[in-house]
Structure formats: C-alpha cells, structure tokens
Symmetry: C2
Subunit: 362 residues, 2 copies
DNA sequence: ATGAAAGCGCTAACAA
DNA sequence: TTGTTAGCGCTTTCAT
C-alpha cells in the first residue's frame, strides 16, 4: 500500500502543483529538472544523465534527442544534487592567515585561477593570524565537504589544528608550512635558506659584522627556515654575529624588536625584516630614531610589496613568486585528487640587492 | 512488488554491508548518519532533526536522548544533504576583479569575517579585470546555488553580465558599482566626489591651475564618479583646467597617460592617480623623466597602499576604509537574505594632504 | 510532542 | 544501448 504510493506518478509537475508541498523556496518553479528533460525527450532519466556526463555508451540519436530537450528547457543541472549523490563537491578550501597580506593575496589568486580552470571553486577563510581559528576553519570546511584543503596555517603547532587534520584525512597541500605529523601531505615550500645565504654573503662582503633578523612567528616554517639559514650562513663567516628576534608578523613586533636591537650594547649594522608588516615596524622605528638607511644601518626585507621599487633608498629584497606558489599548490592538490600520491615542491627565493645595503659605518 | 522492495529495511548498516553498493567513496564508513543516531536513541529521524535544528516542540527527555547519541557517535550533519533538501547553501559568491589589489583584498577580508560570523562561507572568483569573466563567474556561482552574490565587477556595461544577473535573480550587493538595470540590488558605494573635491580645493589653494586625473576603466563607477567630481569641482574654480585620461587600472595606462600629459602643450601642474596600479605607472614615468614631486608637479593618489607612509615625499591620498566596505557589503547581503528589501549605503572618502602636494612651479 | 513517509535532483548498479 | 530502481542524508508535512 504505502509501497504502491511510493511509486512516483508520471504526471507532469504542473498538473499536480498542489502536491508539491515542499519549501516555499519553490518560487523557482521555472527551473527545469532532469525529470522534465527526460520526459520531453521521451527517454529515461538515466539516459539524460549519461548524455550529460559524457558516458561512452550513448547512441548519437539519443544524444541528439536529449540535447534538444536540454536546450529547449534551458536545463541546468543542480550541482547540490550531484554533490550529494557523488560525494564530490569540486570545491577546495583555502585556510589563509591573512588575505590582506599581498603575498597571500597573490598566492590565493594563483591558486584560484588554477583550480577554476579544473572546474573547482575555492572557499576562502581568513584566520587573521589567530592560531585557534585555523582549526575552526578546517572543521568548517570539512563540514562543507570540500574535496581538498590548501593550508597556510597561522600556527603549525596547534594540537587542535593537527587533530582536525588527522581526524578526517582530507587531501591537503601545505603552503610553506611543516607539520609534525606522519600523515603524508603535499607541500609547496620556499627555499628561504638560499635567499638568506645570498643576502648574508652580500652584507658580509660589504663589511657588516652584526646582522639582525627581525622574524615573525616561530610557529611557522618561513621563520624557522630563515633563522636556521642565518645561523648556518654565519658559520661560514667567523667573526660575524647574528641576532634574532622572532615574535609575530606584526608592525608592533617589528618596531619593538628594532628598538631593542638599537638600544642594545652592540646594535646591528644590518637588519633583515622577515615580512611586510614587520618591515613597516622596522622602518617606523628607524625613522623615529633618525637612523639613516644605508648610512647608519643596512636593510633587507623579505617578500616584495607593491610600490617598494619607488622607495628611497631602494630596498634590497629576498623575493619569491607568490603567484607561482599558488599555481603550484593548486596543482599538487588537483594531482592528489586525481589519485597521485602526495608530493613536495620547493620553489626558489632570490636576493636582489639595492641601495638599502651599503657599507657599515666606521 | 517493486513497491514493497522500496520499503527501507530497518537493519543496521553494518549487517548488510553487501547491500551498500553505491560509490566506493563509501570509504568514509565510519561517518555516522542521522539514521544511526535515531536508531541509537531509539527515536525517529524526524525527532533527531528537530532537536538538532532547535525546533521548539521537543521534550527535554527527547533532547537528552538524542544529544547523548549524537555525542556517542560523534555525529556531524551532512551539509550537502541539508543544502539539497532546504535549498539554502549558506554560501555567497564574491566576484572580484583582482584579489591581489590590496583594496579588494581588504574588502574581501571584511566581507568574509562578517559572513562567517553569520554562518556563511565565501566562494571567491577572480576576474583578473577581464569583463567577459564576470559573467562566466556569476553563472558558475549560480550553478553552485550560492544564496547571494557580492559583486565588484570588472565592467558594468557587459550585456552578458547583466543578462546572467537578471536571468536568475540572485540577491546581490554591488560593491562600488552602478548597474543599468531596474532590478533592485543593494549597494555599498564610496563617496568619491567628496574626496576629489577636497583634493582639488587644496590643490587650487596652493595655486595649481591644471589638474590632471589619470583614471582607470570608465566602465566602473569609481572612475566615472571621480571624473564627474573633478569637472564639478572645477566649476567652482574658474581658470583652473582639468585634464582627464581614463583607460585601465594598469601600470601601463598610468605610465602612458602621464607621458602624454607631460608631452602636451600645457602639461598639468598636479596629477591625481586613480588607483594603486596607476600610481605605479605615474611614478615610473615621473621618475624616468626626472620630474620631481612636488617641486615640478604635485601628486595625489586614490586608495592607500601598504608602506605608502614611508614614501618620500609622503603621498597625499584620497582614502576610504576598505575593511568597512567589506563588512557593510556582507551586512547588506545578509539583510537581504533575511528578507529585508535592497538598500544602498554610502561610505565616505577623506583627503589627506601630504608633502607630495606643494606650490606649482613658477 | 513524536513518528511515518515523501521526496530535494541526481547517479549508478543492475537488468533487459 | 537503454530503462528501472534504489538510494545519497536530510527536512518537513501530515497524522497521531
């Protein structure tokens, strides 16, 4: 009985509009479904589905009939239904520390372009550099059933984050991050060491003997890599001292660290600023104290920023190509989604010297 | 017969694993569904649904039973199913010209923060300032059934875009754009006129009599507003001439327009750059020709950019608060989604003078 | 206050 | 090659 009732009546929707009780959001009455297309073409829904999904076993006659009906009705498939049924959302989540950072904005751009070309859309969440938001956003994206994740985490060490990541093994690509996990993630890493080495070599050649690194959060890879690289580099240059101040990727930290360094017994002759925001703080403090660049101190910054090239003095920089990083990250994710094993790609950094690097004062 | 078969057997999933033929993506066997929760709690699925959705008519006993089962199983609702069933995706699309523009990055940040606070996620698409991509992205987002759209279009005049927008009336908020449509969109607009007026007044007071505006694409509101405002402002200052060069929001246009202006019979004594990229071009050309700011020419730019404050000379700017614009746009969209009628909000711009504005050369 | 049942629109196993 | 059918996991009438 109830079984018989379950059999779907073959009457067109319009004629039993009364029986369509569902949500009033059915205001979209004009949107044709696959059922209508099948009816109009006089074929089964499965055939319509086959035609639309490019299944090999379809006669050209069938294809023609179906396509005609599709055209006539202006049919567009409902992606939600497809997602629910197939389990694939063709959506990836990007957990980014701060999209207003031009570096990450470029990365996001590259990633989105590559993903869209492959039919994927990108959900973006900003953790505004708060570690606890990383985990929240990962879970949120997982609830939305993203197929994969691009991770530029604010903090690699958060247990909550690691937990969210291991619990449901969403295919993920780390963007310049290292995770203390066995799970095999793909990763796009920057070769910070190379840039730092080049910068240090240049500074030492100019005669500098106290090089300070004002770095960002020690909980992310770039900071650790830069610190290690500095120490490494100095082993080749006996007599040259390194001073490291890590903290946060903020203007405030840049400023405070610079103040400390300058107030110290033996202030640095050169400073490397580990990021845009930090650079602002460094410049601010230098300006406030009337410390001249490069006459009194030399300056190198990490990661280009718009308009930097018009600075006086022009800024020496350790650069990388963020758009390329985005492309690569998206590429690795797409690879993984099509079955490839996780992979790590290392992209270069390059040091470009400029007027902000000069001989140290006597 | 077939009807009887349709009756869903009440056997637990595990016991008839053989009967679960669907996609092999059923690797997620450990994910409990609402059915399991209902069984474990010994209640109907509808009751579970009611408890979880905060329906008023639920006894506390029921709530307790259900919540216990939810906890025990670590149940998490499947948003895809909810979306399909309810028709609401709690997702909004942001069609942005170029996320690598710091202005838009800030707007996106503000919007995302506000949206997420309301339980919405944001799909981001970059049109990389190509008009034809606007329409493509709008359709793409509509196919994904976004509940609403945030539009920072690359070109307001594209028929394809207008068509995509009118065809399926997705609630939308225009971000500093004007559309030639009857459809009622919400909008967050910037009061460019006020900033331009203040800048012009200042320049005229300094003695300038030829003020050029190197503007971006004439197909978007900010450009038109600035041009109109300049002409307006000059009506109050007889004898002061305006020169407008609109084109594109690119460095190339900024450079070319500046060259033209400087090569003209009567070059401007002051230039207003209509955006970050344009500013780069202007500065580049000025530098190449050894035109000094402000000694030879005065300069004003629109929209702040990181590090601008360290420029020499410091740059006079017409500013606005992009984060606030993002918040407002998201707010208007959320309002619309909860039934409010479309609305327009106008946010201020402010002129901040600086060393780049000086007296014109004699 | 609770339960039974009917789908949302689609895909894919199975049969024919 | 095509059709039949059983769901994906949830919400929401409707009846009790």
């Amino acid at each position: 009985m109830s079984g018989a009732a379950a059999r779907r009546p073959k009457v067109p929707k319009a004629s039993n509009a009364v029986l369509t009780p569902l949500n009033s959001a059915a205001t979209l009455t004009d949107r044709a479904g696959m059922r209508e297309v099948a009816e109009r073409a006089g074929v089964a829904m499965s055939s319509v589905s086959r035609v639309l999904s490019g299944h090999p076993d379809v006669s050209s006659a069938m294809r023609a009939r179906v396509m005609a009906a599709v055209e006539a009705l202006g049919y567009e498939p409902n992606m939600l239904a497809q997602m629910l049924r197939s389990g694939a959302t063709h959506t990836v989540g990007f957990v980014v520390g701060d999209i207003s950072n031009p570096l990450l904005a470029q990365i996001a751009l590259g990633a989105e372009v590559r993903l869209r070309a492959a039919g994927y859309a990108m959900l973006l969440t900003n953790s505004v550099n708060e570690a606890n938001l990383d985990a929240t956003h990962i879970r949120l994206l997982q609830q939305r059933r993203v197929d994969g994740l691009l991770l530029s985490l604010s903090d690699e060490t958060s247990d909550e984050t690691l937990d969210a990541l291991t619990r449901s093994m969403t295919p993920s690509v780390l963007v310049d991050r290292d995770l203390p996990l066995d799970e095999p993630f793909s990763a796009v890493l920057s070769d910070h060491a190379s840039g730092i080495h080049q910068a240090v070599d240049r500074l030492v050649a100019l005669g500098h003997d106290r090089i300070a690194l004002v770095a960002g959060s020690p909980h992310v890879r770039p900071t650790r890599e830069r610190i290690n690289a500095l120490e490494d580099a100095l082993e080749n240059h006996l007599g040259v001292v390194g001073q490291v101040r890590s903290g946060a990727f903020t203007e405030a930290h840049g400023k405070a660290a610079t103040r400390e360094l300058l107030a110290g017994r033996r202030p640095p002759t050169a400073i490397i600023a580990g990021g845009n925001q930090i650079l602002v703080g460094v410049l601010d403090e230098l300006g406030a104290r009337k410390v001249r660049v490069p006459a009194d101190i030399s300056l190198v910054t990490c990661d280009d920023v718009p308009l930097a090239k018009f600075f006086t003095p022009t800024l020496a920089m350790i650069n990388r190509d963020p758009y390329e990083i985005g492309l690569a990250a998206a590429g690795l994710l797409l690879d993984q989604l099509s079955g490839h094993p996780p992979e790590t790609v290392i992209l270069p950094t390059t040091f470009v010297t400029a007027a902000s690097c000069g001989r140290p004062p006597r």
